[in-house]
């Protein structure tokens, strides 16, 4: 393989009559390599096409049918009826979208701010910074169900940690996940558990900012806040943009905490869109309708992502080409 893969230029000065056999050898080797590549790629390709692309295509087709999980034999084509019902008749679709948008707005904003703050902290020369970074990232690797159960205890109104802390500072107790007002803010606070993921994206960018920029600014008399505003913030905008897009997509798909902790309650105050989708698919067994809900969510996320990309031209700064 090593000889066959040798760059053509290494033998460019040899006799011209050597060329045909070299081409033949390269061709055979290339084919072998191609097949080897296919072989190594095939487990992923089969999984991707069979378990991802297949269901995606299937769900698109099903969204135009009245497919019921318990009565698959009686499935018929209903055209756009599912989409029409979801967008014009089913008031819980709009309600769940509002709940989800409210949550996502707060959670994304908090994640962007706190993630950057944590990253700035982790980028300092603290002792044992490696251990601290690991500790910050560990929660992002813990199972969502386990995390939800832990936070259920934290939010327990009478004996939970959250209200114990409010007691310490003399603030009134809150019913957290048992309150229609506080259940979403509680979930937003809970979302900070995974802030290590965005912090690490920030950190990767922060560590690439040349120190001479700060040194030059300091020589010019810029204080810490000015250096942050004029140097750090513009240069981390690509990371802010990435975290914004990832945050929108992941927070609009929030499911586990509502499923485990509140089941959409109280009074549907935490009925996230994906939870309502799940109910339609696996409680009412209306898979055709649930598929339509999934594609509506996809369209919405696509639109939001496109808006984010379009707006990024005005505020995201890339070192190579400036803001674009």
């Amino acid at each position: 393989m090593s000889t066959a893969a040798a760059p053509a230029g290494t033998s460019a000065g040899t006799a011209a009559d050597d060329a045909p056999p070299r081409r033949r050898r390269r061709s055979r080797a290339s084919r072998r390599e191609a097949w080897a590549a296919y072989g190594f790629l095939s487990p992923w390709a089969i999984g991707f096409v069979g378990l991802t692309v297949g269901p995606i295509v299937a769900s698109l087709v099903l969204s135009f049918t009245d497919y019921n999980l318990l009565d698959a034999g009686d499935t018929s084509w209903v055209g756009t009826d599912n989409y029409r019902e979801a967008l014009t008749e089913d008031r819980l679709v709009l309600h769940s979208l509002k709940v989800t948008a409210y949550y996502a707005t707060l959670a994304v904003a908090l994640d962007l701010v706190v993630g950057l703050a944590v990253a700035l902290l982790l980028n300092t020369g603290l002792r044992a910074i490696g251990a601290i970074r690991t500790i910050y990232y560990l929660p992002a690797a813990v199972s969502g169900v386990a995390v939800s159960l832990l936070w259920l205890w934290i939010f327990q109104p009478s004996s939970g940690l959250a209200n114990a802390m409010l007691d310490l500072v003399g603030l009134p107790r809150i019913d957290w996940v048992y309150s229609t007002t506080w259940v979403i803010p509680a979930f937003v606070l809970m979302s900070l558990w995974g802030v290590g993921r965005s912090a690490f994206i920030y950190l990767a960018i922060l560590q690439r900012i040349p120190t001479n920029l700060y040194e030059a600014a300091a020589v010019d008399g810029a204080g810490p806040f000015t250096r942050f505003r004029r140097i750090t913030l513009p240069l981390v905008t690509p990371a802010i943009f990435l975290n914004l897009v990832l945050g929108i997509i992941s927070n609009f798909q929030t499911f586990t905490q509502a499923f485990v902790i509140s089941e959409g309650g109280p009074a549907n105050a935490s009925l996230f869109y994906t939870l309502y989708l799940y109910r339609n698919a696996f409680r009412y067994f209306r898979v055709g309708y649930a598929s339509a809900l999934a594609w509506i969510l996809f369209a919405l996320l696509l639109a939001l992502t496109l808006v984010a990309f379009r707006s990024s031209r005005r505020w995201v700064y890339y070192e190579a080409g400036g803001a674009r």
Binding site: G54, A58, L69, L70, S158, F282, R283
Partner: protein
């Protein structure tokens, strides 16, 4: 990649992807499309699968009796029984798994036990096998069972009052009493409730009076005292109590099959629901799950059970199905008493559990044979009901077995009251159109009442409007088999 341009690779990939995306459809097309139909495709020795998770049946001390009977069936009939146990407090995970497994062509053969509520969730989706022909072939007379049990299993709201269709063989009957912590009553100087159904003076008013005396804050004041702090309660007079059931005593009903109308906004339902909510939010004597978790450290996912066992609840609703959990390993003296009478009538709840055969099973005959063995043969039915589920056997011949089987486990407990409850007990789980959707919609309207955020009258009128729309729509898209 050497030898292949990016464009070539992309073209090949685009050719390959649609072809491979068809494989699930191809697999489905090549699959077995047998629609059940007796045991034509049944392997002779394949184990019957019983799904346990639609209600009771998964408590550790309920399992041995079920396993012993399964072993006895295998010895007698040569076919093994495998249990699929899905322990889950509200049964939703088991319900989801049943639906998905039916779609996947691999459902459990039998659901045992399931309440009428579980039956109703799937009734209009043809999930259950009509057992009437099997019962007729086996010459089994339904008169063997208590009338209340077979009446509920026939689901008259759906099949009609004169239909012979029956979708489950009765497996257990559960009446309800209240249970009380004798030590807490004594400490509060409260007389124990009467031990006779429909005793004079034992009504909702008296219940409220004594539960106020039994609800204490951390400074020892009770809920009737001046200065009582409802934000710092350490012991509740009442717990493990479905406030929705209070409406029964006011004469409320859910659905009228004649007019095809839900009755959620009836005066009786509004008054009774408001009274139930007031027990929590106005009188502060009833612990909901959140409050129960607050008085029971480490409550986990069963705060009411933890609160009762730690002596923080003085009185609870005691279903027969709870006897083997709430009634065992208590470190205090307790007993049972009848439900109190409501303003309109004395009424308690009757839960009926049945064994049902999944219509999509490929072992229908064997499944019925197992149900016959477990639920019709008197000795087995008695053992399964009492030891397996803590229930009364619905077989008329075994009416007294509830006492003889359980009295050794519950010495000094007035178990006779569970039997005496029948004349006052009504099954509340009967099917009505759009059953699952109407029940799920309830949270949106009932939670604000339960939290004390909105009056029952407003919420129930809204609920009625939304739920009746679901019912009307069901009738537009479906027809009753009757």
């Amino acid at each position: 990649m050497p030898g292949m341009t990016r464009r070539q690779l992309l073209r090949r990939g685009l050719t390959l992807a649609p072809a491979m995306s068809m494989w699930p459809a191809l697999l489905a097309a090549c699959g077995d499309d047998d629609d059940g139909g007796g045991d034509a495709t049944d392997s002779q020795n394949a184990a019957l699968q019983i799904l346990v998770g639609f209600g009771t049946g998964n408590a550790p001390n309920q399992i041995p009796a079920q396993e012993e009977l399964a072993a006895a069936f295998e010895e007698a009939r040569g076919r093994a029984i495998a249990f699929r146990r899905i322990p889950d407090v509200d049964g939703q995970e088991a319900q989801r798994q049943l639906g998905v497994s039916i779609a996947a062509g691999n459902p459990a053969d039998i659901i045992l036990p399931t309440g009428v509520f579980g039956i109703s969730l799937y009734l209009d989706q043809d999930v259950w096998l009509d057992l009437a022909p099997y019962l007729a072939d086996a010459d089994i007379d339904l008169g063997l069972f208590a009338e209340a049990a077979t009446a509920a299993a026939k689901v008259p709201n759906y099949f009609g009052p004169d239909s012979d269709v029956i979708v489950g063989i009765p497996a257990g009957l559960f009446t309800h009493t209240i249970a009380y912590n004798k030590e807490l009553l004594a400490a509060a100087g409260v007389d124990e409730p009467p031990h006779q159904w429909d005793a004079a003076g034992w009504d909702y008013g008296r219940l409220l009076e004594i539960t106020k005396a039994l609800t204490l804050d951390s400074s020892g004041r009770n809920a009737a005292d001046a200065g009582f702090d409802p934000g710092d309660i350490v012991q509740f007079g009442l717990g493990h109590w479905d406030t929705g059931l209070m409406a029964l005593g006011y004469g409320a009903q859910k659905y009228d099959p004649e007019t095809r109308r839900l009755l959620l906004d009836s005066d009786e339902n509004i008054e009774g629901t408001q009274f139930g909510a007031d027990l929590v939010n106005v009188h502060h004597v009833l612990a909901n799950d959140q409050l129960a978790a607050g008085v029971a450290a480490g409550a986990g996912d069963q705060p009411q059970l933890a609160a009762w066992k730690s002596g923080k609840l003085a009185i609870i609703d005691m279903c027969g199905c709870d006897l083997l959990s709430y009634g065992v390993d208590n470190d205090f003296e307790w007993d049972v008493a009848p439900w109190p009478k409501g303003p309109a009538k004395l009424v308690s709840t009757l839960n009926l559990d049945v064994g049902a055969v999944v219509a999509a099973s490929d072992k229908r005959d064997a499944a019925f044979e197992a149900l016959e063995f477990l639920l019709v043969e008197p000795a087995n039915a008695r053992k399964l009901a009492t030891k397996g589920y803590g229930a009364m056997s619905p077989l008329r011949s075994e009416e007294g077995a509830f006492l003889t089987e359980l009295e050794s486990e519950f010495p000094g407990i007035d178990l006779q009251l569970f039997l005496d409850a029948f004349p006052f007990s009504v099954n509340q789980e009967g099917w009505f159109p759009a059953f699952t959707q109407v029940n799920d919609a309830g949270g949106e309207f009932l939670d604000p009442i339960a939290l004390g955020d909105a009056p029952a009258a407003d919420q129930l009128r809204e609920y009625q409007r939304a739920a009746q729309n679901l019912v009307d729509r069901w009738f537009e898209e479906n027809e009753l088999p009757s």
